[in-house]
Symmetry: C2
Subunit: 364 residues, 2 copies
Amino acid sequence: MDLGSRRTDGRPTIADVARRAGVGAITVSRALRDPSQVSETLRRTIDDAVRELNYVPNLNARALASIRTDVVGVLVPSLTQNIFSDVLRGVYDGVDGSNLQIQVGNTHYSEDEEERLIGQMLRQKPAGMIISGTDQNPRSRAMLESAGCPVIQIMDITDDPIDTVIGFSHYEAGRAIARHLIEAGYRHIGFVSGWMNSRSLGRLAGLTDALKEAGMYNPKLITPIVTGEPVHERKHPGKISFATPVGARKLVSDLLEADPRMDAVFCNNDIMALGVLFECMKRGIRVPDDFGIAGFNDFDIMEAAHPSMTSVHSPRWESGYEAVLAMRRRLDGDDGGPRIVDLGYRVMARGSTDRAGRLRSIER
Amino acid sequence: MDLGSRRTDGRPTIADVARRAGVGAITVSRALRDPSQVSETLRRTIDDAVRELNYVPNLNARALASIRTDVVGVLVPSLTQNIFSDVLRGVYDGVDGSNLQIQVGNTHYSEDEEERLIGQMLRQKPAGMIISGTDQNPRSRAMLESAGCPVIQIMDITDDPIDTVIGFSHYEAGRAIARHLIEAGYRHIGFVSGWMNSRSLGRLAGLTDALKEAGMYNPKLITPIVTGEPVHERKHPGKISFATPVGARKLVSDLLEADPRMDAVFCNNDIMALGVLFECMKRGIRVPDDFGIAGFNDFDIMEAAHPSMTSVHSPRWESGYEAVLAMRRRLDGDDGGPRIVDLGYRVMARGSTDRAGRLRSIER
DNA sequence: CACAGTTACGGTAGCGCTACCAAATGGGGT
DNA sequence: ACCCCATTTGGTAGCGCTACCGTAACTGTG
């Protein structure tokens, strides 16, 4: 009665399916992985046997035998900010219906941590890697270049991707919001931010370049820049301190003191923009007439605020989704796709910067 | 020159480590998995060999040989809402430094999908399961009960957990917010919600029970209840429509029309609470004097709003974090922990319900 | 009919690890 | 001296799958 040793867990194996279908195990394997290699009749017989036995392939055995896995490594710098929650949502939506598995790594905005996680993930021979940003350090970049699997950088754009980049230009987005504020009639435009990563810096560069070109650049209206590795609690329920609305209220107050002529701010993110709005409410500053406010990312709440809040829509969900779709195409053997995909951004002009009154008929 | 067939990828195996350390492969295996089984000297020799060769265990082979994996399945009903982003953040923080891997599944608030995902995950013999809510259907529950691995339900509480439950009582939270609104002096208290899950329903039940006891229950002030499986876009960048602030503005307008005496609302979530706040701003209704607003979850933005917004703090990050810690204790052989862990909630009384003026000295 | 080329299927031998059993060692009691 | 038991180490035989190679049958060409 040797019906399987105690090392098995009783689940049917490919051999059981093969026996039932009256074929070799390897044929079942082929029928499952690439049905075109197997004749129509046999395929049908095998499919029936699979269904009758309720057979599910053992992914570990498959990975062990084939070296290659179905795991896609996804590296994000943070889970605290909604940005990367949206990205991950796109990623998970993108893998729906495929056999890919997602392995998420959190770099905590640290290059060293990123390097460590890349090494760790690549050792597991993933099917592919999706990684946020284009500012990996040289060692990380070298590892990814020689990884032998698709590597997709997201949420930024560059002329020189490791492999494929899908995202948008933060610099251009910064320029665009500057143009919008200038067109709306603001003349003393500031910038509010907490800790800045390379993408934030890109937006600020776009803003300052555009302001300089317009002869409106005033360094006193830029929040002191904080970069480097963010100091924050890793294991803590609280949010990262640099992006809080409370922080924004303090920062905008500082700027108003530095130069009271300030009549608009671009905020590094929507949450800070709301903080600024609430500070204006408290001070009795009228938005948008006395003061314009623009955010970045265009979270839901911006549209519903009163006044509705101008923001720059960033393709967060799309980045994750398109990255996975590109990955799937590559894994299916289609190497022809573009290596640089610009998903663009959109300035969502709303009430909080509508000094010119174009939207006055609509709700503000 | 048969230095490894072409089927290997050149990485050192446990046999390489064993050769170098001059011991048997199985001893290396033991030294890595449970060092206490190996003598001090050998352990040191083996550790050195591991380091020199830069050996990394092949998790697939380990899983195949031992049936057991290091994968923890985590099921959440949604990734769209920040709630479960926070939970996942806690989960990922909790596994930091362990060898556990996280596999996330999104049930999209569907019992059938949940059942399917549970089956799929259990077939992979996970180390454990973490699952949101306590309202699994009977088949799901049966599967989990016979899974043979720790199962931790989170974000709700029950007397009858499948295995372990870590969360808080939504019913009590609903009662608490009702008490707070009554104490603040409101008399016509409403409830605004979009689509409701079982936890939302628990909060509403707590609210209505408390209102009835106070003789203040008025069904006209309750948004028509929408339950069942939510109709929403799975593969779409947009948010689920039922929880938007725009929706909340419409819903609160409807309630005001149904009974203009309404002087406060409890909102099913913070985002809707902000929507209501913005609607009040537009209509010139003074908060909190004419109208009180309370939300649920206590996202960051609530504290920074103007007026600052009352909400109920829910232990989202903590649920994920504590669930993983409990899981790790169980996997380390400690079966003695409590099976029901109430993480509690906290009513964060702020300006938006401070009709009594107790906070007037502080910023509102 | 011989031949090469193609298609369809199967057998064997692992992938890297660990469960299981066995063996060697050391110490304490009789 | 003996045995017994606990501790430490090793050998063997898989786990379930697929890469690789082989065989058999078919096709078209001269």
